[in-house]
Symmetry: C2
Subunit: 425 residues, 2 copies
């Protein structure tokens, strides 16, 4: 395979579930690449993530104005499209990896920036290894992103802080609401949040209450087997003391036998399995046992898309990690991921570190046991100390005269194709 010479282009793609700040990382990558034009050519983005690379469906980001790229910093979602597509192992589908390298070579790509979670770190690593073997080396840098906060080594993942802020603020607001209504009406408010395996997001609900704002919050973590009796007793105690109670339930909350609460055997008129989530199950359980009137909400995409209440820490880190990815590439690094290194919590100080992809790929960071209170329904001071800096600061998007946030929709101009079709299997 002939090596291309001179300045190489960069490839950037977004992977998996998007977040309020993944575009801030894209902004960091593209702006930093543009600032180093003497070393890096164009940044070509994959349309709909890695699918875009496989099908040679590339976007020429050089067609976007500096202003449009800057606006990515305050625009939620994945501006180039993301995908849920995990490359198989090298053994199972070497064809796909070879195709990636073929596309990279055709477009003179020397830098591979992949913005995602654990799976994409693994892809990133494999691409780098295979490219080396095939004699077309690529510097593969992974940019961390996941609302689930489950990547190892990095202190936290961009995307999580903003979800955490949304959940903490919303739980506080809804708790104030139900407190007002409790005397004659609603006494229970249940909010369902994301996090099927790890309770990081549910834990953020605990930030709604603090020493200056005494609110009764009960959290149902996926890490804790659901104990109905203890739960109902806790809720009853809170209602007796405060007049009401808010419950934050993770979608991953499950019974001792592993069955999700959301799978409570609910059937629709056609006999289809349950439609609802964990929140209505929990709310009805309380109503049946204790008779309290309830309201429930399911935040779903609203929580991870809520750029309007993003955490400044989160936005800053997402941008800086994108920037650091390019700097790592320029300094000759390969198969690494820039990380957030916490220097201190009070005051919050952090810096950028790096981790080898071999240590990141396919490792899931769970919430430490000592972050959950002994009764299983709350967060410990240690957890609060960890979480608080991550929701610190507000970073509002600009708004138009019409009262709406100005989020950018890019032109996403296609790059002319050079190769034949490729069928995704």
């Amino acid at each position: 395979m002939a090596k291309s010479t001179g300045k190489k282009n960069a490839f950037y793609a977004q992977s998996g579930g998007v977040t309020a700040v993944i575009n801030a990382s894209a902004c960091g990558v593209i702006e930093t690449a543009r600032a180093n034009k003497h070393k890096i050519g164009k940044v070509l983005a994959g349309r709909n993530g890695i699918i875009g690379a496989l099908t040679e469906d590339l976007i020429d980001t050089s067609k976007e104005s500096a202003r449009a790229i800057a606006a990515l910093r305050h625009t939620p979602s994945g501006a180039f499209g993301s995908c849920r597509y995990k490359l198989k192992s090298l053994e199972a589908n070497r064809r796909e990896y070879e195709r990636l390298i073929e596309v990279f070579e055709a477009h003179n790509i020397g830098y591979f920036f992949y913005n995602g979670g654990g799976d994409s770190a693994d892809t990133c690593l494999k691409v780098s290894e295979l490219a080396e073997k095939m004699g077309y080396p690529i510097q593969a840098i992974h940019v961390p992103k996941t609302v689930d906060n489950d990547l190892p080594i990095t202190d936290n993942c961009p995307g999580f802080g903003s979800v955490a802020k949304y959940i903490a603020v919303s739980t506080r607001e809804a708790s104030f609401d139900v407190a007002s209504m409790a005397k004659t009406s609603t006494k229970i408010f249940v909010l369902e949040v994301m996090g099927r395996h790890a309770g990081w997001i549910a834990a953020a609900g605990g930030l709604a209450a603090d020493e200056d704002c005494d609110l009764p919050i009960v959290i149902l973590f996926p890490e804790v087997e659901f104990d109905q009796k203890a739960f109902l007793a806790t809720v009853e105690k809170k209602v007796k003391k405060y007049g009401y109670c808010s419950i934050v339930v993770s979608e991953g909350c499950h019974w001792p036998d592993g069955k999700f609460l959301a799978e409570q055997g609910t059937r629709d008129a056609f006999g289809h399995a349950q439609l609802g989530g964990a929140a209505p199950v929990v709310a009805n359980m309380i109503k049946d046992a204790l008779g309290y009137k309830f309201h429930w909400a399911v935040a779903d995409y609203l929580q991870r898309a809520a750029r309007h209440i993003a955490s400044k820490s989160d936005v800053d880190q997402a941008y800086e990690l994108g920037k650091a990815a390019v700097k790592l590439a320029l300094s000759g690094k390969n198969s690494v991921m820039p990380t957030v290194v916490r220097k201190s919590s009070k005051p919050y100080k952090w810096t950028i570190g790096e981790a080898p992809l071999a240590k990141v790929a396919n490792v899931e960071k769970m919430m430490p046991k000592n972050f959950i209170t002994k009764d299983g329904f709350g967060i410990t001071p240690k957890c609060r100390e960890y979480l608080t800096p991550l929701i610190k600061g507000e970073d509002y998007p600009p708004y138009g005269k019409d009262g709406m946030p100005k989020y950018v929709i890019l032109k996403n101009a296609p790059v002319k194709r050079k190769l034949g079709d490729f069928e995704i299997q």
Copy 2:
């Protein structure tokens, strides 16, 4: 009955479902009363709304600092507690009205400020009429509040603009999210919003898209009988054009026979009626017919409590209406409600007017037919012109160093009781 002499105290209470800005009206009432100390004594608030007046459970707001009262302007929910308690007709329960007047007389109350919707306007009117007859006249002023935006005469109701902004912004954000995921994963996002009878809140979802931000939004209004075939065809068309579709469904969306979509016959394992809302029903209906992967959210209390994304128009008007209520009282008015009068939409100009309670009580303002597009799934330019000014401007609450909004919890010191017990029937 002996008339009290000299300076009279004021009574203030919050009624029905609370909002992000009802406390801004409380702030307007209390600050304006404090600024007129030579004419108005203390402002005594009803703990948990009118229940507090009936049971002589009053709060002495003079014990709160100026700073705490000022903080009400940016605190969601009802700071003194609200209630869902509708006084019966004078004929059916004259005893309650007489008790109110007895309590007002015992605490030298000459002003009755009642902050609520249509029912409380009616209560306000009756209290004023009966007090007159009983020889203890009260100046009864109603302060409008309702997220449902269904009070007559006033151009809009405080509380609605902020819900509308939350729904418009959230729908835009979630649409950006689903657009990113649509290629390989979620193609449908369904958001369920409040509004059992009127589609004002659902209509706000239509603001998510505009000429600068082309998003496929389908709205299901309570005013339009649900037409499954037309709905599915519309969704399919949008997905074919855009790759995805967002649906905003009112909780009041119903079939031609009047049955709510949310009552789709869902049963849990114990045979209890449905747990879920309209959103999962709509989402599953699309999945069954068209096969698209979906996500759904139910905003519930989050939408009306979301002070963090309140509309500045809304906060300003809530405050000014509270202030105007006191000014109306000071100018000798009785049985009236201050209103918002729209002078122009572009630019948005409004002023405060007034309406006699006899014309407000028990009248529900529905959404005009020409606000809904002919196909029944969108909003017209007329509707957009009406709604846009109401979500105009941002009015962020202050945040602490911990990244959380600083909402105030008042001391709510009780007023010493002077009367015997009263049993609510």
